[in-house]
C-alpha cells in the first residue's frame, strides 16, 4: 500500500494550482509594463499611496497586505494610517522590514499598547481612572527611535481626533511616535494625549480610512487596506468592546465615501475579530496575505492602466526608449 500511495502522490496533479508563470498576452504585457513602471524614478510615474485603516487587532491584517505588496515590488511612495493602521504604517514608512513588523504583531497583547492590567481595569470601571497608551509610544520609539515625519524614508501621515472639538487632526510633521500614540488612543479608555493645546484620541472616529491623508501626501494612485468590523453580527460584551463598536459603526458609515476615493481596495475578511482578541493577530495577518495575494494581479493592472499616460510620454520618437 505504501508504494501504491506514493504512486498516487507522484502521478496525480494537484488542482487549484498557484499563480503559475503567465505566458499569455496579458501575462507578458503585465510583466513588461511592470518592469517599465518600477524602473522609473518617482517623477516619471504616478505617486503611489497605501492607506491602512483603523481596526485594532483586526488591523494587524495590514501587515500581511504589506508583505504581499512588498514582495511584488509595488513602488510605495506614501503611507497613511489611522489607529492600528498608523502603528503599522509608521514602522513600514520608517523602513522597518515587514518581517520585523510581522514578528512584533505576532506577540501583540493589550499591555504592549497600554498599562492595562486587572487592577487598572477595576480602577477604570469603579473610579473612572483612564488607562495610559504610553506603551504604544514606547513600542514605536523602540522600533524607529525618535524620528520625525520629515526624516522618514517614505512619506507618512496619521490621523487623530481632538476630543474637545471633534476635529480630525492630521499629523505630517513632528515626532512620529507621539502622533501614532494619539492616533491609536481609544476614547473612554485611554487618557487623551495632550499635544499642542489639543487633547487627542483615536482617529478612527473621524477618519477610519484616511485616503484624504494619502492625497495630501501627494498620492495619485491609492490602494486602501480595510479592516472593518462586521458590527452587525457583533455583540459587544465589555466596556472596551462597546467603545470599539461605536468607533466601528461610525467608521463604517464614514468610510463609504472614502472607499470610493481609493483606486483599489483590499479587504481581508477579518470582520469577526474583536478589539481585545489580540491572540488572533497571526490569523489576521495570514488573512491579509491571502486577500492581498488574490488581489495582486488586478491591483497591478489597475496601477499600470493608471500609469499609462506618463509612461506613454516616453514611448514616442523624441523620447529615449525606456529600458527596464
Amino acid at each position: 500500500m505504501r508504494l501504491a500511495g506514493l504512486a498516487l502522490a507522484l502521478w496525480l496533479p494537484v488542482q487549484g494550482a498557484w499563480a503559475a508563470p503567465d505566458y499569455s498576452s496579458d501575462g507578458l504585457l503585465r510583466a513588461h509594463l511592470w518592469r517599465d513602471l518600477t524602473s522609473r524614478s518617482q517623477s516619471r510615474r504616478p505617486r503611489v499611496g497605501v492607506v491602512l485603516s483603523a481596526g485594532s487587532s483586526r488591523g494587524t491584517a495590514h501587515v500581511g497586505v504589506l508583505q504581499v505588496l512588498d514582495q511584488a515590488g509595488f513602488p510605495i511612495d506614501a503611507v497613511a494610517g489611522t489607529s492600528m493602521g498608523a502603528v503599522i504604517g509608521s514602522m513600514y514608512a520608517a523602513g522597518r522590514p515587514v518581517k520585523r513588523i510581522w514578528e512584533i504583531m505576532s506577540g501583540l497583547n493589550l499591555s504592549m499598547a497600554s498599562n492595562f492590567n486587572g487592577l487598572r481595569l477595576v480602577q477604570l470601571m469603579l473610579a473612572d481612572k483612564l488607562l495610559s497608551s504610553e506603551q504604544t509610544e514606547k513600542l514605536i520609539r523602540g522600533e524607529i527611535g525618535g524620528l520625525r515625519f520629515d526624516q522618514l524614508p517614505r512619506a507618512f501621515a496619521c490621523v487623530a481626533m481632538d476630543i474637545y472639538t471633534g476635529e480630525s487632526v492630521l499629523f505630517r510633521e513632528g515626532d512620529v511616535a507621539t502622533a501614532v500614540r494619539a492616533s491609536m488612543n481609544l476614547p473612554g479608555v485611554f487618557t487623551p494625549v495632550a499635544y499642542r493645546q489639543r487633547f487627542l484620541v483615536d482617529g478612527g472616529v473621524v477618519d477610519y480610512i484616511p485616503v484624504d491623508a494619502a492625497r495630501l501626501l501627494g498620492a495619485q494612485w491609492v490602494l486602501a487596506s480595510i479592516t472593518e468590523s462586521d458590527y452587525r453580527s457583533t455583540r459587544p460584551q465589555t466596556v472596551l468592546e462597546m467603545f470599539e463598536q461605536v468607533i466601528d459603526i461610525r467608521g463604517a458609515l464614514l468610510s463609504q465615501e472614502q472607499r470610493k476615493q481609493a483606486q483599489f481596495l483590499i479587504i481581508p475578511p477579518v470582520g469577526n475579530i474583536g478589539v481585545t482578541e489580540t491572540a488572533r493577530a497571526p490569523e489576521a495577518m495570514a488573512k491579509g496575505v491571502i486577500a492581498a495575494y488574490k488581489a495582486l494581479r488586478p491591483a497591478m493592472e489597475s496601477l499600470l492602466l493608471f500609469s499609462l499616460e506618463p509612461m506613454a510620454r516616453d514611448w514616442g520618437p523624441a523620447a529615449q526608449e525606456s529600458r527596464p
Binding site: M1, R2, L3, A4, G5, L6, A7, L8, A9, L10, W11, L12, P13, V14, Q15, G16, A17, W18, A19, A20, P21, Y23, S24, S25, D26, L28, L29, R30, A31, H32, L33, R35, D36, V68, Q71, G73, A286, V289, I290, A292, Y293, K294, L296, E301, L304, L305, L308, E309, A312, W315, G316, P317, E321, R323, P324
Partner: protein, 316 residues
C-alpha cells in the same frame, strides 16, 4: 478526476500489486480482496466491504479494509464515498501514514486546500521528514501567497524527491515569484537537466533570465520553442526585442507572431509601439484599435491598447 489520470492511477495501482505484500497481510479475506483490487475489480471490492464486510474485520485488517474500500471508490470516481471512508479510517487509525497521505491528497486534489492543510500538518507532526506532507504544504502555501514558507517546504520535499524535474520546476517558479531569481535559475536548470524535454521549464528559464536583465541568454532560451512555433515564445521574443530597442528584429518577430496567430493582441501591441517609436501615430492607432477588440482573448491587453489608442489619438 480526469479520465486520463484515473487510467494512470488504475494502471499504477494494478502494477503495484506486489506492494500489497508489504502490508504483511494475515487475513485470507483481505488477501482475496487485495487480489481483486490488483485485478481492477473495484466494484467487487466495494460490494464485499461496504458496509457489512468492514464489520467483520479487526485491527490491521480493518485498516487495510478501509484503505481498499476508499481506494476503490476513488478509482471508480466516487470521491465523496472515498473521502468519507478515509475520514472514518483516519479517526480510527490517526497515526497511519498511508491514510493521512491519501486523505490529504484527495482533499488537496479536490480543491479543498483549507481542509487538506491540517491533515498535512498532522502528517508532518507525526513524521517531520515526510516529503509528501512538505510538498502538499509547499503547494498550498504557494497558492495562498506565503512564499517564504512555501520555499522552505519545497526544499524539504525535494530531499525526498530529488529526481523529480517537475517539482524542481515548481520550486523554481515559486522562487521566481518571490523574486529570488538566482536560486530560481539554479532550480530551473536542475529541472531541465532531469527532464530536457520540459518545454514549460525552458520558458520559465527564459523569463527568469529576462528578469535578471540577461536578455541575450533569455532570447537564446526562446529560440527552440520559437522555431517550434510556440506562441508563448514568439510573443516573449517580439516583446523583449522591442523593450531592448532592437526595432528591426522586434518588427520581424512581431510579424512572425502575427503570421502564426493573426490578430494576436500582443503582436499588435508590439507593432503599435514600434510605429509610435517611429512617429507614425496613425498607423500605431490602427494596430491598437485592432488589439482593443480582442478583449475575449486578452482582456488586460485589450484595455491597455484601447487606452493607449485614445492617448495617441489625443482623446485623453
Amino acid at each position: 478526476m480526469r479520465g486520463a489520470s484515473a487510467a494512470v492511477l488504475a494502471a499504477l495501482l494494478a502494477a503495484a500489486t506486489p506492494a500489497w505484500g508489504l502490508w504483511g497481510s494475515r487475513s485470507e479475506t483481505i488477501k482475496a480482496l487485495q487480489k481483486q483490487f490488483g485485478a481492477g475489480h473495484y466494484a467487487a471490492v466495494i460490494a464485499a466491504l461496504d458496509p457489512d464486510g468492514l464489520l467483520n474485520l479487526r485491527g490491521d485488517d480493518l485498516r487495510r479494509g478501509y484503505n481498499l474500500l476508499a481506494a476503490s471508490y476513488e478509482l471508480t470516481g466516487r470521491l465523496d464515498k472515498s473521502l468519507s471512508n478515509y475520514q472514518v479510517a483516519v479517526q480510527l487509525f490517526p497515526r497511519d501514514r498511508d491514510l493521512l497521505e491519501r486523505l490529504a491528497l484527495l482533499l488537496h486534489r479536490s480543491g479543498l486546500e483549507e481542509q487538506a492543510q491540517p491533515i498535512y500538518e498532522e502528517l508532518l507532526r507525526l513524521y517531520p521528514e515526510n516529503a509528501l506532507g512538505h510538498l502538499g504544504l509547499a503547494q498550498i502555501d504557494h497558492a495562498l501567497g506565503f512564499l517564504d514558507r512555501s520555499a522552505d517546504h519545497y526544499e524539504k520535499a525535494l530531499q525526498g524527491f530529488p529526481q523529480r524535474g517537475d517539482l524542481w520546476r515548481e520550486y523554481g517558479e515559486e522562487l521566481a515569484e518571490a523574486r529570488d531569481y538566482r536560486t530560481a535559475e539554479l532550480a530551473m536548470r536542475r529541472a531541465l537537466a532531469l527532464d530536457p524535454g520540459d518545454a514549460a521549464a525552458g520558458l520559465d528559464l527564459a523569463l527568469i533570465l529576462r528578469a535578471q536583465g540577461r536578455i541575450d541568454e533569455a532570447l537564446a532560451e526562446l529560440e527552440r520553442p520559437s522555431r517550434a512555433g510556440r506562441l508563448e515564445a514568439l510573443r516573449a521574443r517580439a516583446l523583449w526585442l522591442m523593450e531592448e530597442g532592437r526595432g528591426g528584429q522586434a518588427e520581424a518577430a512581431a510579424r512572425a507572431l502575427l503570421q502564426a496567430a493573426p490578430n494576436d493582441p500582443l503582436g499588435l501591441y508590439v507593432r503599435a509601439r514600434l510605429e509610435l517609436k517611429a512617429g507614425r501615430r496613425a498607423q500605431a492607432q490602427i494596430f491598437l484599435r485592432q488589439a482593443a477588440t480582442r478583449g475575449d482573448a486578452a482582456p488586460f491587453t485589450a484595455r491597455v491598447c484601447a487606452a493607449l489608442a485614445d492617448l495617441v489619438g489625443g482623446r485623453r
